[in-house]
Symmetry: C2
Subunit: 267 residues, 2 copies
């Protein structure tokens, strides 16, 4: 049975960290079976990985402002998390802090980059050059660099060969060979839902192990392929649920909880 993919939101939920939980098996992720095989790197929880990426962004903002060190408290509030959680997250990747002082911004940045595999460039392909695909292609190397877009694909004959963001569009039938030739590590699917599964199959054929899926379908992939899903409609529907819940709350009189909420307390 093919592996199921994770949501782009979630998690963890209010942020989603929707929830980054493994469908079956353990959620720890640094070795498929728990990775107690070797001494170092004792499994980083998926949820922690997502947050590390957030910390990384906050850290680069701080570096631009000239900060040299940060305390866990500062970093945590800037990233919108609990300071204990932040320290625990950082402890998964090693001990790079100085007690009584804090963390060196550049050291921490490098270490997170290393763990996230950002030291190597990951060639990325975008499939489906519609509105969204256009937007993605024009990022031209995603934020923070490290994700150069090196291939574009579509079915539309009028688009084939036309340069978008400086890169000519190829036909989706050529996905396998082009991906293999250009060593594509990550495939981004921005096609209509009906085409997504076929495109995904071709990407896998071309040796792509990681897929970011914007199409509103559940992709079936082999076990070794990692899929993350970003689904606009689902995000909106989750928000809609909260609107409905709040409306219901107000509708039947203000409860203690509602009162606490409007007093600014965290509930």
């Amino acid at each position: 049975m093919a592996r199921v993919q994770r949501d782009g939101g979630d998690d963890a939920a209010p942020t989603t960290e929707l929830p980054a939980v493994r469908g079956q098996g353990p959620a720890a992720v640094n070795g498929p079976a728990g990775a107690q095989g070797n001494g170092r790197a004792r499994a980083i929880p998926e949820a922690a990985v997502a947050r590390l990426a957030v910390y990384l962004r906050v850290l680069s903002a701080m570096a631009e402002q000239g900060s040299v060190t940060v305390s866990s408290e500062e970093l945590a509030t800037a990233a919108g998390v609990n300071s204990a959680k932040l320290r625990k997250d950082l402890s998964y990747i090693g001990t790079y802090g100085t007690r009584g002082v804090g963390y060196e911004v550049d050291v921490l940045t490098s270490e997170i980059q290393r763990v996230l595999g950002l030291t190597r460039q990951q060639n990325t392909a975008v499939v489906g050059i519609g509105n969204l695909g256009h937007a993605l292609a024009n990022y031209g190397g995603f934020p923070g660099r490290g994700f150069p877009v090196t291939a574009l694909f579509d079915v539309d004959p009028d688009l084939i060969g036309v340069p978008v963001g400086g890169l000519p569009v190829c036909h989706i039938d050529d996905i396998p060979e082009v991906c293999a030739a250009r060593n594509i590590a990550i495939g981004v699917i921005a096609t209509p839902p009906a085409a997504a599964q076929a495109v995904c199959n071709r990407l896998v054929e071309g040796g792509v192990h990681c897929v970011l899926n914007f199409a509103p379908v559940v992709l079936q992939v082999p076990d070794h392929v990692e899929v993350r899903k970003v689904d606009l409609a689902i995000e909106l529907q989750i928000l809609s649920f909260h609107v409905a819940r709040n409306a219901e709350q107000r509708g039947r009189g203000r409860t203690a909880a509602a009162r606490a909420s409007s007093n600014g307390e965290v509930v």
Copy 2:
């Protein structure tokens, strides 16, 4: 202290959805404090809400194919989850199945729509009409309808008044009044990161309680406002982590886990 937002992806690891975990406080979500205040609706876990939206999509696909009933097993595999989990999720919203038979597609569809608040239309505003904003505006009423885009905003003077997807663009300074006048429920932020917080503040000022944020920043909002974040760079970095992990796995010889994985077993 402002509430923290959830990830659109959340989190999650190899398989299922992102866990969408709440930044702080309980994960159950149907009443800020647990909602045992009233008899019905005894708190739907955040993670379950995200999955309900997925089920909804799968159900409409099945309805189009003419299915009248589905078993939990069918629906679960189509949605990429465990059937036990699916049944538990559905049990949160009531008991609409028939033992020995399954669920009626249209009944289940209606009930999920009801719980998610999709019976009422949620007016939506898009702020920042760049590449992404354009793509969003042209959806023109998001998938499944129920989310009509009824306002567009930008700073660019050349864009003000120009119709995009049939709707004229307003200036972001007018956000508060326009949102209030048009009864906007959901605000979508697709601006550059530097502008996001200011835009968010104006949306809140205009009475918006739910925000979908595409800008790569952590927004600070009052407690009563719900924020969900969709962050492309973070999704890519999470995938990058998995690439790095897998490369490392292969690099140091095939472990038992790696072997199991390539045999097609779920690990």
